[in-house]
Subunit: 347 residues, 2 copies
Amino acid sequence: MLKIAVDAMGGDFAPTNEVEGAIEAARDLGVGVILVGRSEQLKAELHKHRAALGAGNRLSRNPHIEIVDASEVITMDDPVATAVRRKKNSSIRVAAKLVRDGHAQALVSAGNTGAAMMTAKLVIGTLPKVDRPALAAVLPTLSRRGTVLLDVGANAECKASHLYDFAVMGSLFSSVIVGVHNPKVGLLSIGEEEIKGNDLTKETFKLLKNSNLNFIGNVEGRDMYTGQYDVIVCDGFTGNVALKVSEGVFELVVRVLKEELESSIQAKAGAVLTKPAFQRFKKRLHYAEFGGAPLLGIKGMTIICHGSSSPKAIRNAIRVARDYCQGQMNERIGLELGVPVMLASQA
Amino acid sequence: MLKIAVDAMGGDFAPTNEVEGAIEAARDLGVGVILVGRSEQLKAELHKHRAALGAGNRLSRNPHIEIVDASEVITMDDPVATAVRRKKNSSIRVAAKLVRDGHAQALVSAGNTGAAMMTAKLVIGTLPKVDRPALAAVLPTLSRRGTVLLDVGANAECKASHLYDFAVMGSLFSSVIVGVHNPKVGLLSIGEEEIKGNDLTKETFKLLKNSNLNFIGNVEGRDMYTGQYDVIVCDGFTGNVALKVSEGVFELVVRVLKEELESSIQAKAGAVLTKPAFQRFKKRLHYAEFGGAPLLGIKGMTIICHGSSSPKAIRNAIRVARDYCQGQMNERIGLELGVPVMLASQA
């Protein structure tokens, strides 16, 4: 049985949400989950769900959930490099070791993003053909089909060859996990023409144009959410800014709308009637529905969740990890990156 | 009297919106407006507003509006460099010459952004101490106080010293035009700590930390719209992506909300009641309320408006141009940039 190691201690609501999400995943998804963290705390948390754990209400009778003890936790405030180096028995490190040693096939964490990325790289390691792993985000779109944006923060400085690798990994992810046939690849830039952009995008444009990928051209920020592109590549600085600005705008819009809806009796009455529509609206645009950002290019699949992930987001992240492993994503990345790229100068 | 040259032919709704905006500005703002474009077309457009033009209904009796003929137009689809070079009699170029030669003090255009920026730089020229002019955008925020973001697209590649200049110009703009005392400056990056970011932001951080500016630190994309910062600096690639992504998210949110509000009878009824609240909401977040992006660092003030600018947006852009000139912004930029920056290594 496929096993997913869950860093149960890192998130804002850990271990409550991690444990609940893990139970749902173990029940519904046909995978085993290894909860990693302070075992006494995890046992107590599991105990709350004993009815859901099935026959005999005892953990030992449910083969789908295991606990592996880890005495330390890397918090959101810990300086990443120091914490990863010094906290040898942190839940994220112990979980990563389970993957490295073959006891689990994938890793899910809602803890400190920087620490999770660094630990995955150090402990599990990158795929042989991958120079830089990339963090991917699946964006909600107007067309309702998720667009994969990468890198959203693993590499602040990138070369064109890295962006090419991101495009390959993103395309495979879109095809295997999102289920898109021949995914359309765009390059995030500041104008649609080939000559628009900075030195990095101009060089990357040439690489992508001459590749086997379904490269459509430059994408402007305005079109990131239309659903016209299945994969959008950029350096990790730009991607992180784009993703976080999106969160900021969404929050601004919802709060301003709320203020205006509370500003008159008529609007308040209308707000009551439109409440279900608002809930559907929020559901369509909320990150929790997808559940986590995959770190592509790591030997064992790693999914990094938002610190405030709900149980549902944790469950969905475990589902993505399962699909990734079952889809043999890593083997396919190795095969695709093994094909030499035709450089523009050779074309 | 202060005179503003308006490129009356470039926008999506030119010259209709440009002429209407100019008339409103000339009537309300105590400035003269020079409309630049095909004179027959402009006269015909002005004729529609003869009632608003005052005594005698004749253009000649209204000293606040003049027409200067320009036979060519640079369209949105024209390749920028070629069009700027070849169309010697384009409305944007003739308008820029009016500023260069002292017949007008500022330039407003809703035409091709790239062409307007290039023409302003070539024809009017940059201020002596400014290496690179920067395009600024005033963002709506939760706190209702506008945040100045720059550069949003004039320079795809930047050095730290450019970002320092942007911070100085942005601070002056915030203080003189937005009316903020001692504006708080942030550096757009991917983490709050000094060590987070790319090479450019790390170097810029040192420059800003040791300057006389009210530098607060790194800003993450998520906090761009909170109103905690009055000025946010970044390179033109990142700024353009951030601004356009914001437009994309806003459009996504409004369209998804609209879809959901039209999906049931109950929601539709609620939508009728909440309509005024929605209109206030849109008004608070719409770019037209501010009116245009100033290109800071040009000898004559230049304001670049959205192609689809309304008459109100044109009028507001003219108001900003007036305030800029009356606030002696360019003189102050020269003075501030004349002060040597203490480099981190000297500190």
